[in-house]
Subunit: 194 residues, 2 copies
DNA sequence: AATAATGATATGTTTCTATGTATCAAGAAC
DNA sequence: GTTCTTGATACATAGAAACATATCATTATT
């Protein structure tokens, strides 16, 4: 339909994919229906700002108005942000199964304890840095072993597994916090487009 | 109404005012109704992207999705863009009168010649850098002296006045093309808000 | 004092987003 | 080969933006 905003939609889509999220996953995360996300990404709608901002925030993006003059510099800065590598399919799968299991547990036998775990797991899926599938499998098995009627020991085991996974992640994630070395001073000259 | 997009509206308003445009002027420039602009600036609507982009473009702004990580750096770049000083009321007035006169002339006696002049004048109002009111007045008188029935000499005079005005502007405007000296390397640390 | 320009508002109509729910074909995983 | 998952698409509905037009009080300008 050409609203001269296609590149925004493209960026949204790229950001979603860079995070390894499906439209449905982003839908859950943002509250925006999957059908709508699809329409947006295929340039079928002239969406409202609130929608765009909602989606952007879910993808850790910020909507900004940038002076034309500053565009080249901003683009250069933006490009310099190192994207996190995507987890493999297998890893995504393990993470999904872990999350599902915990969600079930929370649904069947709610507790502050489990809720905390749930949050932690979500946190992990967000960070989703490099992970061994083996490690993930171990965690998953520990989690899947838990039943609403399980002993505290079983739960503890799963908890510990998740906890150590989280710590490991916190470490490797730190590497991405402050990306590449300080950049050379940028210029504000004119510049060709992307 | 709080759409978490107030700052965008604020930026639009600030940009408009920085250009010395009234809501009606911006309306003409962008095609967006004045009433709508007012609503937008007072956070009364959750506007569509097309509207935002239209207005932004009229104000030489670009709508961008910026990774959270890059926000501080982008802000720093954006801030570094030196805004042009506003022309005084008196200058605005002179410019408006010149423009009106030429518009009338074009309407009454269209010609490629006049159209070119019209474009040039619009260009000047866009650049709107510092100008002596005296100089503007002189130009205005030259322009206002022209009637559809005027001699070529009269028209020539107006033309010359505008031409020299333009050249003078091109000079002083160059000073803003490359703003302040090269900046120090920026950092990508976290940062407080505006 | 009279005039013009400004931003905020009102109304009535048209258009389209946003949402919920559901289906579908293509491809991936088991 | 069957089941899941994916993105695209359909449809009905509610609510809101967009628009044209006009008014109004306030503030500048002459």
């Amino acid at each position: 339909m050409s609203f001269a905003t296609e590149h925004l939609a493209e960026r949204l889509k790229a950001a979603r994919e860079a995070k390894g999220l499906s439209q449905r996953a982003l839908s859950k995360l943002s509250g925006v229906p999957q059908s709508h996300i699809s329409k947006i990404e295929s340039h079928a709608v002239d969406l409202r700002i609130s929608s765009l901002v909602t989606l952007a925030h879910a993808l850790e993006l910020e909507l900004m108005l940038v002076p034309r003059q500053a565009l080249p510099a901003v683009r250069s800065v933006t490009r310099s942000v190192t994207p996190k590598p995507l987890p493999s399919r297998a890893e995504q799968r393990e993470l999904a199964r872990i999350q599902n299991k915990i969600n079930d547990l929370v649904a069947n036998a709610p507790s502050a304890h489990l809720a905390a775990l749930q949050r932690r797991v979500r946190e992990i899926t967000q960070i989703h840095s490099q992970l061994d599938v083996d490690v993930l499998q171990k965690v998953r098995r520990a989690v899947e072993a838990v039943e609403p009627s399980s002993s505290d020991a079983t739960i503890r085991q799963a908890e510990d597994a998740i906890h150590s996974l989280r710590n490991r992640l916190a470490h490797s994630a730190a590497a991405y916090k402050k990306p590449s070395a300080p950049r050379p001073a940028y210029q504000l000259e004119e510049d060709s487009d992307d």
